[in-house]
Symmetry: none
DNA sequence: GATGAATGAGTATTCATTCAT
DNA sequence: GATGAATGAATACTCATTCAT
């Protein structure tokens, strides 16, 4: 899980950041990462009902170690959320850096959906988990201005309908993630079909139809999706 | 739950009937219905994590009775699924009865999404639960022809783009359900906003933009949704 | 454990009492008694730290059964407390029935200490566990008037010093129980030695010589002690 | 904790000493003292359930250091016990130095009870914890002669009943500690009331009326009680 | 047939103790 | 020697499922 490896490990030299109360010992940090990776994988496989024992086993550590690094299950999931949130913010900022407003918005939707699509745990976390007041606040505080700017910039350029709002964007991403959740085991890219559909509804006055890039699921694939799809039932 | 009430109850004497293993005794069938109703209500409120004791209590019977009527929790949920599936088929047939093809398709999407929106467990079931081979097959067998007809009829009438497929329809419903799952505790009708958006992308060449019928969530409502939203985390 | 066997089982005929919501099924009540007995024994042996699994094992039932009958560990111990409390009240009433005031007070102290002495769990419960407000209140409400009467009656008869208070009595019992706790494995009756010593300090002759230096706890303080006292229950 | 501070620290160089395995390095000894102090405070507050992590934190050292200095939790508590034992012996010796035999005995009882009263863990230790054979032996070896002398001296002076024994004294202290444990959160000095009561039963005049019914524990029995007594230490 | 009592594997979490850094 | 990271057995409690009444 490349995303996790590269994050939040202070390089040996740059410890002058000084915000973190104390950098973890090398091995502790390594285990922290292992735990996050394992959590991500296990949760992706078995959903949020996965046990911390499973996570610990996958990470190759004892349960106690998980509890040493995270106050509890919810906190561990919260850490995952925080990490992914940073990625989303980065995605948003890259999208804002895009000179063309339309391309910017589209690339945000695409990259955000791609991120969610690649990680089921993240979809569940973003879509279904109630978090503590502060985490939710942080998420909003970081993402909202970026997304707001993306939308209003596109509206000012006349390429997006005037009644679209910034809060519609996460909904679009959730909806795409829901589609992805369903189709992924059969044909992972299916969600792009619905992104295209969605984009078709965005221009103030649509002129030409975009041909849908992905074929629909065949009835057989559809059935197969229903059988091996995400299991939340215990 | 009207659908449940109306199920045909075989008279005690005519057990010589062909396929059905044996018609239930009058009181047994009454209990079966009570259990399904109770399950429907309890699961709609609390989702799939509701306990069978809760269901039994709500139904006014003992747990043992639930197990006498259904092999287990999954089977009970499966029966609910079947019931809802019938509702969906009925919805589809009503939509087909609609003379105008476009109105027919739209009313199907609307009614199907409405059904999912009112029942949390149903959303979870449809979106996340893997069912047995036969149930999935039955679902497909019953729904697919109806939906296929709805789509092709609309395409023949020239009011829907040619590259839309029947399997896109359940995806649309799932996506709307995902939106509903998220926004429901704050503003339950929000999903209609996204149905409108979606419909805007369906015509072969869109002429006028449909004004979105529901306002978007305010940032504050958005945050509140994140806090009290569907909790799958135990 | 004879005391437990005879208690709180409604005789088949006398169900007109009607206070209890519903009499337990025969087997359920039998198991309830088994659990209480086992709890009493196990707690007596291993102290309040004994696990409910131990209790269940001793009772020959599964843990779930224990939890079906009692909401949790504390509730189980509370039930034990309630049972013993009834015994104490009965002891107090027998003591009041005694015509001679001095004999009455002495027999209460003796019988109460005997009760505590025979059951270590009870000693711990009475001495160390903080219970819910209502249980403590019930204990006080039932015992206090009886004990108050025992003391004042003896004082009126001139056989007990005037500065003794009703709240001194439970303290005496606790102190004897502490002695019993210690000496029991070696010589179980040792506490009687200290009861005799204590009784020697009660006649009024002594109060002239040494007035008691600290005021006794008021009934309200006593109750407050029962509520915030040392909690050894985990 | 004055007693702890004053312990003799062998100089680094003179490790050729006889019995002591090896004098600790200066800093090691300092840590040992810090740990004992911290343990004393933490245990006094929270009782024996306090964790070693708490102790280590309070002492400003790592848990590992605690384990380097003491084999385990029980050993640490044992060391505390030893320390308190020294205090008791000192108290006893001060009491013996008292010219008046009665005052001597009373001041021992008072000071000993005061010591126990101030430290919850100590109460638990003295009253409930079974210690290793050697610790109990040491306790007896050190305390018994002092207490025996205190008692017999008072008896010789004619101010204490003849049937009192040395082993009655620790029982008196335990009983007072039990009272203290109970009343402490409400009115900490309450135990003095019961000390006064107890003292009232000691003069020889009393023994004429009621000969004590049970023999006292012999010193050997006392020791045996200390070893097999109720164990609350986990 | 109905009931609800009994079961016990499973879950999150804690803490004394060990061991790598 | 000191540190604190890692360990995992233990504990209270839940709930789907079975079975005696």
């Amino acid at each position: 899980m490349g995303t996790l490896e590269g994050m939040s490990i202070d390089e040996p030299g740059e410890d002058c950041g000084a915000v973190t109360p104390r950098p973890l010992r090398r091995d502790a940090e390594r285990n922290r990462q292992r735990i996050l990776c394992a959590a991500s994988e296990v949760l992706a496989e078995r959903g949020l009902d996965a046990t911390l024992d499973d996570v610990a086993h996958k990470a190759g550590v004892g349960v106690g170690t998980v509890y040493r690094r995270f106050p509890g299950k919810e906190a561990l999931i919260g850490a995952l959320f925080d990490d992914r949130l940073s990625s989303l913010v980065a995605i948003g900022e890259r999208a804002l850096a895009e000179p063309d407003p339309w391309t910017g918005l589209v690339s945000y939707l695409e990259a955000a959906a791609e991120l969610l699509t690649a990680d089921r745990a993240l979809r569940q976390i973003l879509m279904f988990t109630a978090f503590g007041r502060d985490q939710a606040a942080r998420a909003r505080a970081q993402l909202q201005p970026v997304v707001t700017r993306l939308v209003s910039r596109a509206q000012d350029a006349g390429c997006v309908r005037a009644d679209l709002r910034a809060t519609d964007v996460p909904f679009a991403v959730f909806m795409l993630a829901a589609a992805a959740d369903y189709a992924r085991p059969v044909r992972p890219a299916t969600w792009r079909r619905y992104l295209a559909l969605l984009l078709d509804s965005l221009p103030p006055a649509r002129s030409a139809t975009t041909p849908l890039p992905e074929p629909p699921l065949s009835p057989a694939e559809m059935q197969s999706a229903m059988q091996c799809g995400p299991v939340y039932l215990r």
